[in-house]
Symmetry: C2
Subunit: 386 residues, 2 copies
C-alpha cells in the first residue's frame, strides 16, 4: 500500500519554497568563510565581471583585496586572525553585501552583516555548549507612561521554571541604533549567561533587554509600522522620556516573572546610549538598583534635551550615593570617542567621593569590548555579602 | 558641568560597530524594494560592472531583468504584484544575493532571502497590528528518548501570564530543511495567531514549534556544532525516530506550561515533512490529539525506513479512528508534487470510512499555501461542542 518516497535531488529541492528557481551554483557549492585550526580565514565569492573585490570587517582596520581565478571566483586568505566573533561584508566595485555563501547574518541598523566566529579562549563563552540553556522570550508589555505597547526580550536561566525561589534581574540596555535584539544578536548574551552560570561564575539571574527607542514599539519589522527602513535618527532618544518610563518596565517584569522585587535584586547596565540610560535611570530612581554598569557610556544628553533629569544630575547623583549602590561599574576602551567624557564623569564622582569600579580596556566603541564588559560585570552581581 | 553632546553624522556612525568602515553609498542611499499603493514594486541595486542583473522571487515564475543607468544603478518595476508576503534575490551575472538595501531577510536552509510584503486583504493577518500580542519563547528541553537537549519555540497568547485557566496546545511542525524558526519566520505564525485571536476567530491557544530534525539540537547556529553550513540531507528524518520521541515534547510542554493535558486540548499539524510527522505521531499515539492537520503532507516514508510505524500504518490508522479525532484536516495545492500521494491517502481513508475535512487550493508546495492553511485550520480547533 505504502510506496516508499524516493528522495531525488529534484524532489528535495522543491521542498524549499522557491528553491527550484534558486539553485545557486555560486553559493551552494562554495563554502565561505573557511576557518582553519591556525586562525587562517579564507573568504570566497563568485563575481565574474567584477573589477575589484574586497572584504572588510571588524577583524581588521582596512579591507583585504580578493584575487580572481579564471572562472570569476574571487578569494583571499587572512592569516592568524585573532579569536573573536566578527562581522564582515564584501565590496564588489562599490556594492557592499553580506557573504551569500554564509547563512549566518546579523542586522545592524539597516545593514545586513555576515558573522564569523574564530574560536579560541576569548570566544569560549560566546559558543553554544552542551550545557543547560536558559530561555529567551520576546514579550510585549503595556507602557502607560508613553501610551504604547512595547516589546522586550527576556532571558530566564536554566531551571527557572522548576524553581520557586525568586531571581534577581539584570536590565541590559542597547546603544543608539540598537533594539531589544542587539544584546542577543551581536552581544551573545544568552551564550555568555548560559556559560557563566553553568560554570557557577555568575548567580542565576533574569536578563531583561528592553527597547530604548521610545519612538518605536519594537525592533524594525516587528512593529505595526511595517517593514520601514531602520534609521539611527529618532526624535526621542537621550532626552529623558525613556528614563522616566522605565518604571513601566520594572513593574511589568516584577508582575510577570518570579523576581526579587527590591533594590538588592536589581541591576541596570548598558552600552553607549544604554550606559547613558543606566546612569540616568539609576539616579532618577535611587531605590531601584543596587548594581549599575556603564559600558562605553555616553555621558551627555543631546543638545536640545530640556528634561530636569540632566540639569539636576549632580543633585540626583548626590541623592543616589546617599544610599550608595553596592556596585557602580564603569568600563571603557582607551580609543573610545567617549573616553574624555568618561574621564570628566569619573572626576565628578571622585570629587564627591562616590565609589565606583573602573575597568579600562584596549580598543574603542565595539561589541568586542561590550561582550568583554558583560563577562566582567555579571560575576560581580547579586553575590552573598556584596 | 554637562556639555551637550553634539550629534554629528560622523559621531553617530561610530556608534555602529564598524560603520565607520562601511559607509555604503549604494545601500544607504537606495531604497529597495519600493512598493506603491497600486502594488507596483521597484527593485534597485548598484552594480557598475555587471552585464546582466535580474530579480527572482515567489511573486513570479520567471526572473525579471533590471536595466542600468549610466551610473551603474540597475532597476526594474513590476506592475500589479498581488498582495502577499514574498521572498526574493538578485542575480548579478550568476551571483545570487539578498537585496543589500533591504534590511529584512530570512534564511531558508543555507540561503539568505530578502523579504517583501505587498499589503492587501491576503496579508492582513501577516502584519503586526496594534493589538495585544502573544509572546514567543525559545526554550530548551531534555529529550531522554534521543538523549539530547533540544530547542523549540513556543507561542503563548496575549493574557497567558494573567490567566489561571489552562490553554489548549497546537503542535505545529516544519518541513524538510526547516527548523523551530520556520513557522515563525516564513509562516508568520505569531502575527496570524495574534490577529485571529484578537478578532475572536481563534480560541486562545499555545503553539509549540519543535525542531523535527532529530540529528540536530536546534536551528543552525544555535547548536553546539557551531556555525556549520545547514543542509537538507539529514540521516534521521522521516524514519520514525522523531515520531517515537514526540512524547518527550508533550511531557515537557505539559510540565512547564499551563495546558489542558488531554486529547481534547491538543492538536498536531505540519507542512510537508511536518504533515508526515503529524500523520504518524497522531496514529502512533491515538489518545494524544483530537485535532490533526496535514498541510501539503508527505505521505510516504523514506525508502530505507524500517520502523514498524510505517509497515503497520493501516493498523495504526484503524486504531486511531476507533476513537476518531474531532478533526482530521487535509489541505493541498492542485500543483503540489505530493498531490497524487495525497489522493491515494484520501482513498485509503475513504475506503475505510475515516472522516476528514479536505481543502484543495490553487498552487503548489509553498509558504503562501501553508500560511493560508494555518488560517483555515486554527479557527476549527478547540471549539465548544466540536
Amino acid at each position: 500500500m505504502i510506496k516508499p518516497l524516493i528522495f531525488s535531488l529534484t524532489l528535495l529541492l522543491t521542498l524549499s519554497t522557491v528553491a527550484q528557481q534558486s539553485f545557486n551554483s555560486s553559493s551552494k557549492s562554495l563554502s565561505s568563510p573557511i576557518v582553519d585550526e591556525n586562525g587562517n580565514v579564507t573568504f570566497s565569492i563568485y563575481a565574474p565581471n567584477a573589477q575589484n573585490v574586497s572584504v572588510f570587517g571588524d577583524f581588521s582596520g582596512s579591507p583585504a583585496t580578493l584575487v580572481s581565478d579564471t572562472t570569476g571566483l574571487w578569494s583571499v586568505t587572512l592569516s592568524d586572525v585573532a579569536p573573536e566573533y566578527y562581522i564582515y561584508q564584501f565590496n564588489i566595485d562599490g556594492l557592499k553585501i553580506a557573504d551569500p555563501s554564509n547563512p549566518y547574518t546579523k542586522r545592524d541598523i539597516s545593514t545586513t552583516w555576515s558573522t564569523l566566529m574564530v574560536p579560541g579562549d576569548v570566544t569560549e563563552n560566546y559558543q553554544v555548549k552542551d550545557i543547560p540553556h536558559g530561555s529567551v522570550t520576546h514579550v510585549w508589555y503595556d507602557s502607560p507612561s508613553v501610551d504604547s505597547r512595547r516589546r522586550m526580550a527576556v532571558y530566564t536561566p536554566a531551571g527557572y521554571s522548576d524553581n520557586s525561589e525568586p531571581y534577581p534581574v539584570l536590565y541590559l540596555l542597547h546603544g543608539m541604533g540598537g533594539d531589544e535584539e542587539a544584546w542577543l544578536a551581536l552581544g551573545r548574551t544568552q551564550q555568555i549567561m548560559d556559560n557563566l552560570i553553568a560554570q557557577q561564575l555568575v548567580t542565576p539571574m533574569i536578563v531583561v533587554m528592553p527597547n530604548g527607542n521610545i519612538d518605536l514599539e519594537a525592533a524594525p519589522g516587528e512593529t505595526s509600522e511595517g517593514f520601514v527602513k531602520p534609521t539611527i535618527q529618532l526624535p526621542h532618544t537621550m532626552e529623558g522620556t525613556y528614563e522616566h518610563s522605565f518604571t513601566d518596565i520594572v513593574s511589568f517584569v516584577d508582575s510577570v516573572y518570579n523576581t526579587i522585587p527590591s533594590k538588592n535584586g536589581r541591576a541596570v547596565a548598558g552600552l553607549s546610549m544604554g550606559g547613558f540610560n543606566s546612569l540616568n535611570i539609576s539616579a532618577l530612581y535611587p531605590d531601584m538598583f543596587d548594581y549599575v554598569g556603564l559600558f562605553s557610556a555616553a555621558i551627555n544628553p543631546r543638545a536640545n534635551a530640556s528634561d530636569a533629569l540632566f540639569a539636576d544630575r549632580e543633585k540626583l547623583l548626590a541623592r543616589q550615593f546617599e544610599t550608595a549602590p553596592k556596585l557602580y561599574w564603569i568600563g571603557i576602551g582607551k580609543d573610545d570617542f567617549l573616553y574624555d567624557d568618561n574621564v570628566k564623569f569619573r572626576n565628578l564622582l571622585d570629587s564627591n567621593g562616590y565609589k565606583y569600579v573602573y575597568h579600562e580596556s584596549d580598543g574603542g566603541h565595539s561589541w568586542k569590548n561590550w561582550r568583554k564588559y558583560l563577562q566582567l560585570f555579571a560575576p560581580l552581581l547579586f553575590r552573598a555579602g556584596s
